[in-house]
C-alpha cells in the first residue's frame, strides 16, 4: 500500500506539470488560431462587431469565395472546409445545438433530408435561374442550388477503343464486356445520385428500384468493375484495367485537362441519356441567430452574383470549377461541352433510400 501512496504523490506533481504543459501548448495553439482568424476576418473587425458566419463547405473554391465575400461585405467568415461526408456527419451530430450558419456541398438529397428534419431556413434569392437551375429549386425553397455538375460522365480511352456507347443499355452488350468501371456508392458521395438517377429513368418512382436493380445486375454479369471513388476509377482507366469509366462530370473534365495525351492514352467524354443533375447547393441553418441567417442570405446572393460566379470558376480550374453555371449569362468553362440531356430526380423520394440502395449494391453488385 505504502508505495502506491508515495508514487501517488509524485505522480500528482508530474500530472500537474503535464497538465500545465498541455495547457501551455493549448494556449499557444489558441493564440495562433485567434491571430490567423483575425487576419482572415480583418475586414469584419473594421466594420464593427458583426457575428462571424460559420460556413461548412466541401467545394474546392470555398476558401477564395469566402475571402472575396468578406472583402465585399465586411462580414467575417469562419470556414470549415472538409469532405462532404464528415461535414454531413458533423451537421447531424450537432443537431440539438447547431454551430454552422451555412452548408455548401454537392448533391441535393442530403439537403432534402435536412429539410424533412426541419433544419433549414428557406430563402428565395431574387436571381432567376436557367431552366436547369429552376428544375433544381425545391417547392418550399428550403435550399438554393447555385451550380450543377452531372452524374455520370462516361470517360473512355479513345486510344484503345473506337466503340462509343450511345445509351446505358449499350454498356450491357458484348463489346463492353469487362471494360466498364464505376465508383462504389458507399465510398463515393456522387455515386448514389447516379444509381438513383438510373433507377428513376428506368422505372420511375413507382418501379424504380426493381428496374434499376435489374440493369445493374446486367452490368455486373457483363463484367462491371467497382472502384472506391472517382480518382480510383480514373486510375483504372489510366492503367488500362478498364476502357470506360462512369464518374462525375467535373472529375472527367479535369482528367482531360490534366492527363497528357499519348499513343496509348487519349481520354474523351461522352454523356449518355440521361445525365442526372448533381447540383452544388447552399442551405441555411434554421436555428442560427437572425443576424447570422441574414448574413447567410447575403452570402447566397454573393455566390449567385457575377463576381461570385467568376471566383467559383477561376479558383479550382481543374477541379470543382468545372461546373455548368445555372445563373443566366454566365458561360461554362471552355473545358466543358454544352450541357447534356439531363434529368432531375426528386431528392425527397430518393434521398431516404440511400442506405438501402448502398447496402443492396454492396451485397449484390460489388
Amino acid at each position: 500500500m505504502v508505495d502506491r501512496k508515495q508514487t501517488g504523490r509524485a505522480l500528482a506533481v508530474v500530472a500537474a506539470a503535464g497538465v500545465a504543459l498541455a495547457l501551455a501548448g493549448c494556449g499557444s495553439a489558441t493564440t495562433a488560431g485567434s491571430s490567423s482568424s483575425a487576419t482572415s476576418s480583418s475586414a469584419g473587425a473594421t466594420s464593427g462587431a458583426k457575428t462571424p458566419l460559420v460556413v461548412y463547405s466541401a467545394q474546392g473554391y470555398d476558401s477564395d469565395v469566402t475571402k472575396a465575400f468578406t472583402a465585399a461585405t465586411g462580414i467575417p467568415v469562419k470556414l470549415v472546409d472538409d469532405s462532404t461526408g464528415p461535414l454531413l456527419t458533423k451537421v447531424q451530430a450537432e443537431k440539438n445545438n447547431p454551430q454552422w450558419g451555412l452548408l455548401w456541398v454537392d448533391g441535393d438529397t442530403a439537403f432534402a433530408s435536412l429539410d424533412q428534419q426541419g433544419m433549414l431556413a428557406p430563402y428565395s434569392p431574387s436571381t432567376t435561374l436557367t431552366a436547369a437551375g429552376q428544375a433544381l429549386v425545391p417547392a418550399d425553397h428550403s435550399y438554393v442550388p447555385v451550380s450543377t455538375t452531372v452524374m455520370a460522365a462516361v470517360i473512355y480511352n479513345a486510344a484503345k477503343t473506337t466503340t462509343v456507347p450511345s445509351s446505358y443499355q449499350d454498356l450491357t452488350t458484348a463489346p463492353y464486356q469487362g471494360k466498364v468501371g464505376m465508383n462504389d456508392p458507399s465510398q463515393s458521395g456522387p455515386t448514389f445520385p447516379f444509381i438513383a438517377g438510373l433507377m428513376n429513368q428506368l422505372g420511375g418512382q413507382s418501379n424504380g428500384m426493381n428496374a434499376g436493380e435489374a440493369y445493374f445486375s446486367q452490368l455486373k454479369s457483363n463484367g462491371l468493375h467497382v472502384y472506391p471513388t472517382n480518382g480510383d476509377t480514373l486510375h483504372a482507366l489510366e492503367t488500362g484495367q478498364i476502357d470506360y469509366g462512369m464518374i462525375q462530370s467535373s472529375a472527367a473534365a479535369g482528367e482531360i485537362l490534366k492527363a497528357p495525351k499519348s499513343a496509348s492514352f487519349d481520354p474523351k467524354v461522352v454523356y449518355l441519356p440521361k445525365a442526372t443533375l448533381l447540383p452544388g447547393v447552399i442551405g441555411i441553418d434554421k436555428k442560427a441567430p437572425a443576424d447570422v441567417q441574414a448574413e447567410a442570405r447575403q452570402f447566397v446572393d454573393y455566390v449567385l452574383s457575377p463576381a461570385g460566379q467568376k471566383i467559383m470558376q477561376d479558383s479550382d480550374p481543374q477541379g470543382d470549377s468545372l461546373f455548368w453555371p445555372i445563373v443566366p449569362g454566365i458561360q461554362a468553362s471552355s473545358a466543358l461541352p454544352a450541357m447534356p440531356e439531363y434529368q432531375r430526380i426528386d431528392p425527397t423520394f430518393w434521398g431516404p433510400l440511400e442506405g438501402q440502395v448502398n447496402t443492396w449494391f454492396d451485397s449484390t453488385i460489388k
Binding site: 501512496k5 440539438n96 497528357p260
Partner: protein, 586 residues
C-alpha cells in the same frame, strides 16, 4: 524534549499525513475526473443513442431497440465473425512478428540493429492510405509488377482479400508490438536466464521463462492491435473492395456516411465492438491472473547478447530486411509512385521523375499553417498523454482496486475499438450540449476540445505501451529512496524515472507521430479556419491531387522523423549514463 513539544510535533505530523493522504486521494480523483470527461462521457453518450435516439434529437424514441433490430440481417453476423477473425489474426501476427523483431534487436548480435528499430518507428508513421496504395500500385492488373513481367495473379488474389487485410493491419500493429515487447525486454536482466540455467534448465527453458515474464507486454500488444483492427474500415474497404469480405464496421460507416446519418445504428454496432473489446480484456485477465511480473529493479544484470553464429547472423538479418522491405518498402513505393514519378504504371506516355509536387506544396501556405498547428497539437497531446498514461499504467498494473483496474482497461480498449469518426461524434454529443453553452462553457470548435479528443484517442495505446515497463518496476526502489530521506517526488525521480525514461520517450514519440497525421477526430472537431495537416492532405486527395496530397504526407512524416532523431540525439548527449545503461548489453 518536553512532553508538550512532543505532542505538538506528533500533532503536526498527523496533520501532515492527513494533508498528504488527501493530496493522494486528490490525485486519483483528478485522474478519474479526467478519464470520465475524456473517455467515459463521450463513449457512454454515444452508445446511449442506440437505445435513446431522442436524447440528441437523432430520432423520436426515448427508449427503443429498433437500431439493434436493424442489425439482424443475414450479412451482419458473418461480418462480425470476419471482424473477430481479422482482429485475432492481426493481433497475433503483429505480436509474434513484433516480439521476434524486438528479441532479435535487443538480445542478439544481429547486424544493423539501429536500422531495424528505426524502421519499426518509421512504420508507425506510415499512413494506411500509403500502405494500401503501395500494394495496389504494385499488384493491380497492369500494375507495376505486370509491367515488369512478374507474374502476380496468385499474390494479387491473396493480398486483395481477407489475408491481405489481416496482413496490412498486422503490419500497422507491428511497431506497437515491437515497442511494447522491447520495452519489457530491456527491463529483463540476464539473471532470470542465469537462474534457469543454474537450475539445470536448457536454453529452451530459459527462453520459456523469459517469454512468460513478458506476458503483460505481449497481452498489451495483442489487445491493442486486436482493438485497432476491429475498428478499421479503410484497409478492408480499399484492399478487399471487391473481395466480398464484409466487416462489421461496414454497417457502421454506411450508417454514418449515407444520408440521413443514422447514429442509432452506428451506436448499435458500437455495442458489438464494445463486446469484442470486452472479450479481449477477459482473455487477458484470465491469462495474467494472480502473477507478478515485477522484475525491474536497480540490480538488473547486463544482458549478454546471443551470438547467432556465422550462418544464422546473416539469415536473421535477411529475414529482418525482408520484413522491412515488405512492410515499409510498400508504402514508400506507394508514396514514390504517387508523388515523384508521374504516371507510373499507366498508359500515359512519359514516366518522368519530378519534384514539382514537393516544390508546389512547400510553397503553398495551405501546408505551413496546418503543419505547424498539427506539430503544436501533437507535442501538447504527447506530453499530456504520457503523463496521464503513466498514471493509468500504474493503476492497471497495481495489485489493488481490481474493479477500477478492469473498468479502466475496458474503457481504454473500447476507445480504440470504436472507429475514430464515431468517437468524435460522441465528443460532439457531449461537448456541444445547449446546457454547457448556457453555462458559458463552449468547448466544441476550439483547439482545446480537439486537444482533449487527441488525448483520448492516444491515451489507450500509450498506456498499453507503458504497462509493459511500469508493470516491471519493483516497489522496493522508491521505498528505499524514502527510507534514505528523500521526498516523494525526489524518490520517484531518483529511483523510478531512470528505469522508465526510455519507454517514456518512446511513448511520447509514438503519440506525437500518431497525432500529427490523425484524421477522423481532426475532421470532425477541428476549429473553424484552423485545419490540421491531415485534413489538408485528405482534401487534396479527394480533389484528385494525389501528387500534392502525398507530398504533404511525406513531408509530415519526414518532420516527425526529424523530431524523433532530435529527441534521441538529445537523449544520447544529455541523459545521465546510468539512465542510458538500463537495457544495455555487453
Amino acid at each position: 524534549m518536553g512532553f508538550a513539544p512532543m505532542l505538538a510535533r506528533a500533532g503536526w505530523r498527523s496533520a501532515a499525513r492527513t494533508r498528504a493522504s488527501s493530496f493522494r486521494g486528490g490525485t486519483w480523483i483528478l485522474f478519474w475526473v479526467a478519464v470520465f470527461g475524456l473517455l467515459v462521457l463521450p463513449i457512454a453518450l454515444f452508445l446511449l443513442v442506440a437505445f435513446s435516439p431522442a436524447l440528441f434529437e437523432q430520432g423520436p424514441s426515448w427508449l427503443t431497440l429498433e437500431a439493434f433490430k436493424s442489425l439482424l440481417t443475414p450479412t451482419f453476423l458473418p461480418s462480425v465473425m470476419d471482424t473477430l477473425a481479422v482482429g485475432v489474426g492481426a493481433g497475433a501476427l503483429a505480436t509474434v512478428v513484433g516480439g521476434a523483431v524486438a528479441w532479435a534487436v535487443q538480445r542478439t548480435d544481429v547486424p544493423l540493429r539501429p536500422l531495424w528499430s528505426g524502421a519499426m518507428f518509421t512504420l508507425l508513421l506510415a499512413p494506411s492510405y500509403l500502405v494500401a496504395l503501395g500494394w495496389e500500385r504494385l499488384l493491380e492488373p497492369n500494375g507495376v509488377l505486370d509491367v515488369l513481367g512478374v507474374p502476380d495473379a496468385g499474390l494479387r488474389s491473396i493480398i486483395y482479400g481477407p489475408i491481405g487485410v489481416t496482413g496490412v493491419l498486422a503490419v500497422k500493429g507491428l511497431p506497437f508490438a515491437y515497442l511494447a515487447v522491447s520495452g519489457a525486454l530491456r527491463g529483463l536482466g540476464d539473471e532470470f536466464t542465469a537462474a534457469a540455467r543454474v537450475h539445470g534448465g536448457g536454453p529452451w527453458t530459459a527462453t520459456r521463462i523469459t517469454g512468460a515474464l513478458l506476458a503483460p507486454a505481449v497481452w498489451s500488444s495483442f489487445a491493442i492491435v486486436f482493438a485497432e483492427s476491429i475498428s478499421d474500415f479503410g484497409v478492408a474497404a480499399t484492399l478487399a473492395n471487391d473481395a466480398k469480405f464484409p466487416v462489421a464496421t461496414y454497417t457502421l460507416y454506411n450508417a454514418v456516411q449515407a444520408f440521413p446519418v443514422d447514429f442509432p445504428v452506428a451506436a448499435a454496432v458500437g455495442w458489438v465492438l464494445l463486446a469484442m473489446a470486452g472479450l479481449a480484456v477477459f482473455a487477458q485477465n484470465r491469462a495474467l491472473k494472480g502473477r507478478s511480473y515485477r522484475v525491474l529493479g536497480g540490480r538488473s544484470r547486463r544482458v549478454r547478447r546471443v551470438e547467432l553464429g556465422r550462418w544464422r547472423r546473416p539469415a536473421v538479418a535477411s529475414l529482418l530486411a525482408l520484413l522491412v522491405i515488405a512492410s515499409l518498402g510498400v508504402p514508400v513505393f506507394g508514396a514514390l509512385s504517387a508523388s515523384v514519378i508521374s504516371g507510373l504504371g499507366s498508359l500515359i506516355g512519359s514516366h518522368g521523375f519530378t519534384l514539382d509536387n514537393y516544390s508546389r506544396v512547400i510553397a503553398s501556405p495551405q501546408l505551413h499553417g496546418p503543419l505547424l498547428f498539427s506539430v503544436g497539437m501533437g507535442a501538447a497531446t504527447a506530453t499530456a498523454v504520457v503523463t496521464l498514461g503513466l498514471v493509468a499504467a500504474r493503476l492497471l498494473t497495481g495489485s489493488a482496486g481490481n474493479f477500477s483496474r478492469r473498468l479502466l482497461d475496458l474503457l481504454l480498449l473500447t476507445a480504440v475499438a470504436l472507429p475514430g469518426i464515431v468517437f468524435a461524434a460522441g465528443y460532439i454529443f457531449t461537448y456541444n450540449l445547449p446546457l454547457t453553452d448556457a453555462l458559458g462553457l463552449h468547448l466544441y470548435g476550439t483547439p482545446t476540445l480537439l486537444l482533449l479528443a487527441y488525448i483520448a484517442t492516444a491515451l489507450p495505446s500509450t498506456t498499453r505501451l507503458l504497462v509493459g515497463t511500469v508493470g516491471q518496476v519493483q516497489h522496493s526502489l522508491p521505498q528505499a529512496a524514502r527510507v534514505h530521506g528523500q521526498g516523494p517526488l525526489g524518490a520517484w525521480i531518483s529511483s523510478e524515472l531512470p528505469l522508465i525514461a526510455r519507454p517514456l520517450i518512446s511513448a511520447w514519440l509514438l503519440t506525437f507521430g500518431g497525432t500529427l497525421l490523425e484524421l477522423p477526430v481532426s475532421e470532425l472537431l477541428y476549429p473553424p479556419g484552423q485545419p490540421p495537416v491531415a485534413v489538408g492532405i485528405t482534401k487534396a486527395l479527394s480533389n484528385y491531387d494525389f501528387g500534392g496530397g502525398t507530398a504533404m504526407e511525406v513531408l509530415a512524416i519526414l518532420l516527425a522523423l526529424a523530431v524523433t532523431g532530435l529527441l534521441w540525439g538529445l537523449w544520447a548527449l544529455f541523459a545521465p549514463a546510468g539512465w542510458r545503461r538500463l537495457g544495455a548489453t555487453s
